[in-house]
Amino acid sequence: MKLKRKKGDTEIPTSSMADIAFLLIIFFMLSTTFSVNKGFDFGIPPKEQEATTESESRPALTIIVDSLKDPNRNFIVKVMDEQGNIEDYYSESYAVAMGQPERAISSLSVFMNQVFEDVRMQQPGEWYKLPVYILVRREAPWEGFVEVWDEVQDVEKEQINFFPDIVEKDKRKLATHIPHVNTVRDIIQQYREQGILLD
């Protein structure tokens, strides 16, 4: 007797293929980041960083970033204008907590603009030569420096000298403004004697 073999339908089930594919799509859609890195430029200055011996004891605007000894690692900024007036500023959250929002770091550029404005009134033509020093305590939070640098950028790019030697894009332009290293040491010594810097 001849057995009749039943012919089965040979078909690959593809109806679930789309479901699998859509699951994959959802995974890749969720894991895709279209966001980019956000930040600001910190230029690489040329290698020669020889300080020139100009401007020995010229008046300067000095900003000292210090760390507060609290668990939240807030920072304090002391600004000394060319006449020796000292103003204190605090990190945003600390100033608010202290009930002195006008002492928040975001007000620093207002004060600095005022200083430059005054110097310009007194010495027309010379105002742009007022150097700005930024001294940062070793242990101060990184945020403190970034916030101050941000404020300083708001004021005037050409007026900035830097200590310790961090960055400025156009070092050539600045070279004539950077005082001798000893002068900066003297300034620090002076601040220590006046009790602004702690050690």
């Binding site: 594919a21 890749f28 910190f42 101060a140």
Partner: protein, 195 residues
């Protein structure tokens, strides 16, 4: 005469091409997705006028072990809380294509960049772990400019970031086109053209 009822045609939606469409979409998302190379948790400092950098920039991340992160329930951002003061500074790096790896760590209390030996050690680590890889990548990609982004937590100590930047400035000249500091946007939008 008996009218023969017309055969009812079966209604169906053609789904055979559905998977093709889906795979096209998959390929699009696979190609366009960039996985972040550095997964270090960070609470970045704020900056008024931020610039955008490519997601595949080389990354140098600086963190300390004493930082604890809390996720804000409102905007899902991380907030860092500093814990103990004496701890390790950890530096990890990535050339932008591979996941970041730890390249250097040092005790925070004895960190001193004025010590030439220590400075040289950090310099060598950064050179091996980052600069050489960036140079290689640059060669492979036809001299395309690569930015090195420095990713430092806002509560990280200044000396650590300062030391790393100093090293980068000495080393990065040929390999990288620039150094950028990562930050988050803060404050009102800058007024364009205002003086």
């Amino acid at each position: 005469m008996k009218v023969k009822r017309q055969k009812v045609q079966e209604a169906y939606i053609p789904t055979a091409s559905m998977s093709d469409i889906a795979f096209l979409l998959i390929i699009f998302f696979m190609v366009s997705s960039v996985f972040p190379v550095d997964k270090t948790q960070m609470d970045l400092p704020g900056w008024g006028d931020v610039k955008n950098y490519l997601e595949d920039s080389a990354v140098l991340a600086i963190s300390t072990e004493n930082l604890i992160y809390v996720r804000n329930n409102v905007d899902r951002n991380l907030t860092s809380i500093a814990g103990l003061t004496n701890d390790r500074v950890i530096i990890s790096a990535s050339d932008g294509r591979t996941l970041s790896q730890e390249i250097y760590q040092h005790n925070s209390t004895t960190w001193d960049m004025s010590d030439p030996e220590q400075f040289q050690k950090l310099k060598d680590s950064v050179n091996e772990g980052l600069i050489k890889k960036v140079e290689l990548r640059r060669m492979q990609e036809g001299n395309r400019g690569i930015t090195i982004v420095v990713k430092a937590d806002k509560k990280a100590p200044f000396y650590a970031v300062d030391g790393v930047i100093e090293v980068l400035q000495e080393l990065g000249g040929q390999a990288a086109t620039g150094i950028a500091i990562l930050s988050k946007r803060e404050g009102p939008a800058p007024i364009v053209g205002a003086q």
